[in-house]
Amino acid sequence: MKKIFALLMICSLVLLTGCGGDSDNKKSSNTEELKLGMIRHLNITETLLDNYFEKAASRMKQTADMRAPKHIFFDNMPAMISALQSGQIDKISTYDSVAKYLLAKNAAMEISSDRVPKVSDSFCCGLREDSADLKSELDAAILKLYADGTLANLVKTYITDIKAYEDLPAVDMPNFDGAETIKVAVTGDLPPLDYISADGKPAGFNTAMLAAISQQIGKNFELVDVDSGARAAALTSGQVDVVFWVAVPLNNTLAPPNCDKPDGMILTEAYFSDEITHVEFKE
């Protein structure tokens, strides 16, 4: 009986080793489909995004030998990085600022160059259609912050000049007695733009910008930590009034600008823009 059990164990080990070897081969092959991990968007689906990239890649194939990746969405950053570590995806598709933060925090990673169409997104705040007045206030405040250079300073402080392992502390939100309170959804999944500091408070560029907007419009902001996958539900149900980082593609030859905007949502003026970069683990 013991011999049969030992034999079975050896057979299973051989089988398991075989399976593992196969997945490694798949990953190393250059001609295989490129699997890209991405944080779940508000509206656009994996299939739709793949279709946009396929069309763009086929247009550019003759001149630049482009190829279309397969996108896999994740509800949060830890799940995506774990998938990259385990080889379930080949690379992470994220913004350049996030990629630099990632590299600063994890020295085992590097930015990779791929023959994939380049995309840049601008970031807007999303609101419900019935919040047109609030949108006007936010638009005016964002444009003013652009004009007086505040936004450029915030980008410098919170994104460009950020150093590894030196997360800036959470910004204290202004408090106006008796003023209306607006609930804003933050996810913590897009550092250094949106992350939760060690003491559990929402921090990063987005919150610093929000504090500046609050000063401009004289309203209180309450930051609500919500999972990326539940942002749309939180907004449409009225549990929050504003969601951050709705992506609007700048290169509309790849995808229409409103591809990530769900029905019933309106967008503010863009407050930041960034190029999409791919990150992988070093060999």
């Binding site: 830890p78 550092p191 060690a198 003491d199 930590d225 999972d227 996958g229």
Partner: protein
């Protein structure tokens, strides 16, 4: 970077440990309250389910089959983003309501199966010996019911703690959400998630320990 230094930066630096404790406290609060209300509601549902009054029995059957058959995350999101969306109700309260409802369905079924496993002859004997209905329940049925239902109830408690890990979807910062936030900030998901798992495991073994102690007391 050394491993110990990494652990320090992930779990301890800048009051990180305090944030983890706060998340753990939220998980414990939701679990404890849901267990309390879920057990009470579950006992009531079990009573309805075994009732001879048909409408009550059918109501309990429908309740149990719907709640046991639907994923708890869907129920939680339906209540928070649908039913209670415009009421301004505290998300913690919605979580307690959801998990109490979910636990109740499971407790009702485990109590029913325990009741069905009891020897009816003993109850009849007690009644013949002059015990009142309440005395027979308290002295004959209840001790045996507790003994039979205990192992499954213990699993339900541990399952409940694990079910609560989805409350991040309804704006609650529990232990899982704190762990995810730390992993996103530090970009070290495997170490952080392993740390989170150890805390959940410790909590589960704490529950097993409590049940083990009560076992000893009974013996």
């Amino acid at each position: 970077m050394e491993f110990t230094e990494l652990i320090y930066k992930i779990f301890i630096k800048d009051s990180g440990w305090l944030t983890i404790l706060n998340g753990l406290w939220v998980t414990v609060q939701i679990s404890a309250l849901s267990l309390l209300f879920g057990t009470l509601l579950g006992s009531l549902m079990c009573f309805f389910r075994m009732s001879k009054f048909k409408p009550l029995k059918i109501f309990a059957q429908i309740y149990i089959s719907i709640i046991r058959g639907s994923p708890v995350l869907m129920l939680l999101m339906l209540l928070f983003y649908g039913v209670f969306a415009r009421t301004g109700i505290n998300p913690l309260l919605v979580a307690v309501i959801t998990f109490s409802m979910h636990t109740a369905a499971h407790v009702a079924e485990l109590l029913r199966s325990a009741l069905m496993a009891l020897d009816k002859g003993q109850l009849e004997a007690a009644r013949t010996l002059g015990f009142s209905e309440f005395q027979a329940f308290k002295l004959v049925t209840l001790p045996q019911l507790a003994r039979i239902a205990k192992p499954v109830y213990q699993s339900t408690v541990v399952n409940l703690i694990q079910w609560t890990s989805v409350v991040g979807y309804v704006t609650i910062t529990d232990l899982t959400r704190v762990i995810n936030n730390i992993a996103s900030r530090t970009m070290q998901p495997i170490i952080t998630i392993t740390g989170g798992m150890i805390i959940y495991l410790a909590l589960s073994y704490f529950i097993y320990g409590i049940f083990h102690l009560t076992d000893k007391k009974i013996r």
